[in-house]
Symmetry: C2
């Protein structure tokens, strides 16, 4: 090694050692006769020290010429600092420099390499290799590394086998769009990149692998919304000879292990919540349970008082925001504006202020007496000082609107602390989901998910009511993982494909191999996949997954640094047997 | 879990326990009143036992109906076997069955699920999920899992950070062909799949990540030779602030760790051999050093005796095959035929039989006296009983031919034992390689490899002579890994591109980001990549990598099981802005 030590390891008991360090010049402080340099590497920062008169004159001159981000190799003696810095682990010492070798110079970086940088998103992405030098970004990727390590340690300990599944697979129109790869050898034919290794992991169960995992890249050619990446990473797992409870306890164990080993946090056992309860009490299948503020349905206490909006509504439902009774007119108007934004789509908002003196003030005072309001407040379990917020309308839409309002109020009340974690399982998802565009049912999870046996009879009469053996893990209002117990017999799988509108021919062309595999002794099996990028950002307390990916693409799917996608030569296209459409 | 135990864990001290097992019916032996069933899962085989009269009559009937590969769940009591089987860990016990539940039936598999199968390659690949049930294939993938685990344990312990690099990158014409991925959002533009994460790992060094690794899928669209896969896996590593020696010792450590932890073998320190010595003594840059049989150059003792073939040859070189002096005429003719095969291309083969009585017999007796032959034998250090085999011609071609002959003789003499391992480093590779087709120099390793400083002056005068800071690890005649110390400054990188025939514009378009990165404080760095599939097959003692990949493609790049590549819809093509050429 060109160094004897890293910039993060020297301590007071190393004093008087002769050491050689390598790293980047973070900062240079020149106080006339005294010169300090902060030398940085991945492991930390060590202070270098030179003194006019004591240090060699030529050395002083060359030290003064060092610019930010120069790469140097420095030899010197470890000395105790006069004024110690207890903010960094090396803060008790500095290096009295004897020799500086410039390993490489640096132009002035286009943005500052500091925790808070002045670089905008595009600039940071174009020079991602410089952005990655910043401590917060490096630490995010170190966290990711640790998450991957600990995931493997846990799964290895439970006899999971890591198996690599292929990246060049087959295009299947179900679900999101595939990225495709033209075959040069077979003109007119294409591979596709996997949206997940779903069928392969199921086949591994048919093969008797019993417990499989993989931390694996997946691909989805979707119109990119904020914080979606065309390539993303999953912790992908599957188990055979299990019940749903086995999957839930095994992967609850994984997440507990990660919290403990990576963050030193013991999280409580994960509550189980049905999808239908999640929708009823939170208006979302990924409830943020860091705070309570559950929905209370008010139809029975609020209808029939002549207020047409409520009387004509399918559902009247409220939340109670603790300590917000004294919201000003302006604040209340802002809440109304919020729910009326087109993305949310409520027609209006009714509020009841539960005053400290026990009185009530509401936006519907002319329809409701003080007693009426009191009855509502009681039903809401609202205390003096609370603010009750009520929406109404078609059930599903109203729940979704109130979910947004609940999250906003949680935010306003500081109840969504990024360093607090609340995890749960959401269970019993619907098997099918009606799609207004295509006018048919789609698989809510995917077509391999098994229906609950007791709901099978509804498949013909009321398909939307059939529940699946499907589950999501939700942390802080984010779905971090989801999975299901799979179908493992051909007749059920065939039935499922036909309910999803596949012709027999289509099903056979795309998934014939899987259905055939089910005829050769397929065991009961199920699994789960975690969104690894998202899980890392959640652990890192960040909103965006961007800094937990070393080289992310922007919202147009472009890598700004290497400038791709890009054109390829006509010769290359010819070889592949394709051409760009005019 | 549907089971209380696996099929691999019950022992004599479990006798009398009531247990539930799950697995596949491997075999059924029906001896009239007695019935044995071998139940198989990933963990082993357990014998089930039923007895007419003692077992329930209905149970006997249903047990007799079980077919091979049926999936069952069995409950019973562990009992000591009368005749124990010491070949399997569960051989001391059997299960007296009380209950059998068929979890799934199985059609008759298209080939037998045994260690030696009757299935041909195509059939095995079409039903890969059944092939994967066979113990040798499953064990190969378990070995791979262990190799990956131990690789990570070793590198994690040395502070390497695992960083995922992107899969959707940019096409670069240097090297093999890229697979490309049309962009739907940017019509006419393409991503490419990485042949290696080379530039990204170098950028991570520029970013200060210091030590990087990744077990990563790479892609190469080459005409597939036997045992090449379009997608393959590398252990990819890079280190900063190092010398070549640091890389060699770190990764010698990795391979030692793998041998020790996976196979329980202590391998000796790896010898270092220069490329030029490897070519001179073995005729190959990947010498199989499990056996000696080194080349001996004979120009000085064999020329000038009137044998035109040798006198006119640039090089006359031989090997001595121990104990082969008594090869018959037929055997000697076969060796001659072997070297004259068009793939090898020698014009002929000269032999000298060193008889046990001290006499010599050669195929060139009319040109060489007994004394002449004795002198050759002495130079060869051939002993009585040995067979000297001599080739001649242009130096490089002759060495390559003799390499093939040496390997064949090693094979014949049983010196290439798959359970013996001989590893070494080959160093000082040439930087450039002349390509007859393109009539220009190509990078032997890749364009980012640094030339040896002391050879830099040859770059203009004799480019083929410039040596690189490049190294390969070779085990048993197979290159398992290779790497180099990289260029880390813009001027040298630019010089290199220009020597490789890149115009300035081309270099900038393809690698501008890397050259720019070198101007912002790039540290000295270098790295290595191991071919993981090959390394696993070597550890597994197999010739082919096929069974160390769960779902491999055939030699035409086709996945026989899922049947891909395949056509995609016109609609999909339209969306991607491409069309298939007529």
């Amino acid at each position: 090694m060109l160094r004897t030590h890293t910039c993060g390891e020297l301590r007071i008991n190393d004093v008087n050692k002769t050491v050689t360090l390598t790293g980047w010049v973070q900062r240079l402080r020149d106080k006339g006769s005294l010169l300090w340099i902060d030398l940085r590497d991945r492991y930390g920062i060590t202070q270098l020290f030179l003194e006019e008169g004591k240090s060699d004159a030529a050395l002083m001159i060359s030290a003064r010429k060092l610019g930010r981000e120069f790469v140097v190799r420095v030899t010197g003696i470890v000395a105790e600092r006069l004024s110690k810095n207890d903010k960094i682990p090396t803060g008790a010492i500095e290096i009295k420099v004897d020799r500086i070798e410039v390993l490489n110079e640096s132009k002035l970086p286009p943005f500052t390499i500091e925790d808070e940088t002045d670089g905008g998103d595009d600039l940071r992405m174009t020079y991602r290799y410089l952005d990655l030098r910043r401590a917060p970004v490096r630490e995010s990727l170190q966290l990711r590394h640790k998450m991957a390590q600990q995931t493997r340690i846990y799964l290895d300990s439970l006899n999971f086998i890591e198996v690599e599944t292929p990246v060049l697979i087959k295009s299947t129109p179900e679900g999101a769009r595939d990225f495709v790869v033209p075959s040069r050898i077979h003109h007119g034919e294409f591979y596709a990149l996997p949206q997940s290794p779903q069928t392969f992991k199921q086949l591994l169960m048919v093969s008797g692998f019993d417990r499989y995992y993989q931390i694996v890249k997946c691909f989805r050619d979707e119109d990119l919304r904020a914080d979606r990446q065309p390539e993303f990473t999953q912790i992908d797992c599957e188990m055979a000879f299990i019940t749903q409870e086995d999957i839930l306890s095994t992967f609850e164990g994984l997440v507990k292990h990660l919290f403990k080993s990576v963050k030193g946090i013991d999280i409580p056992p994960l509550p189980h919540m049905t999808y239908s309860d999640a929708m009823k009490f939170y208006g979302s299948d990924k409830p943020d349970t860091r705070f309570d503020m559950k929905f209370v349905e008010l139809n029975d206490v609020i209808k029939g008082k002549g207020f047409q909006v409520f009387d004509g509504a399918e559902l009247v439902v409220g939340i109670s925001a603790s300590g917000c009774a004294e919201y000003t007119r302006k604040q209340l108007d802002e809440l109304t504006e919020f729910v009326k934004r087109p993305q949310i789509g409520a027609k209006g908002l009714v509020y009841i202020q539960c005053k400290a003196d026990g009185s009530f003030k509401s936006s519907v005072d002319k329809f409701y007496s003080a007693d009426d309001l009191k009855r509502v407040a009681e039903k809401m379990n609202a205390q003096p000082g609370d603010l009750v917020l009520i929406l109404s309308g078609e059930t599903n839409a109203t729940r979704k609107q109130l979910n947004e309002l609940r999250l906003l109020m949680g935010e306003k009340l500081g109840l969504r602390d990024k360093n607090k974690f609340s995890a749960l399982w959401v269970l019993d998802f619907p098997l099918l989901e009606w799609n207004e565009e295509t006018k048919r049912y789609h698989a809510m999870h995917h077509p391999f998910t098994s229906p609950k046996r007791e709901d099978l009879s509804l498949l013909d009469t009321d398909p939307g009511k059939v529940r699946a053996n499907a589950y999501d893990m939700v942390i802080n209002g984010t779905e971090v993982g989801g999975g299901s117990i799979r179908i493992h017999d051909r007749p059920t799988q065939q039935l499922m494909f036909s309910k999803l509108g596949f012709t027999e021919e289509e099903a056979k062309k795309q998934f014939g191999f899987l259905m055939e595999a089910f005829e050769f002794g397929a065991p009961p099996h199920g699994g789960i996949a975690f969104g690894f990028d998202r899980l890392c950002s959640l652990f890192g307390g960040a909103d965006s997954i961007r800094d937990f990916i070393a080289f992310p693409k922007n919202n147009a799917g472009r890598d700004m640094m290497i400038d791709t996608p890009s054109t390829i030569s006509e010769e290359q296209l010819k070889e592949l047997g394709i051409q760009v459409r005019p």
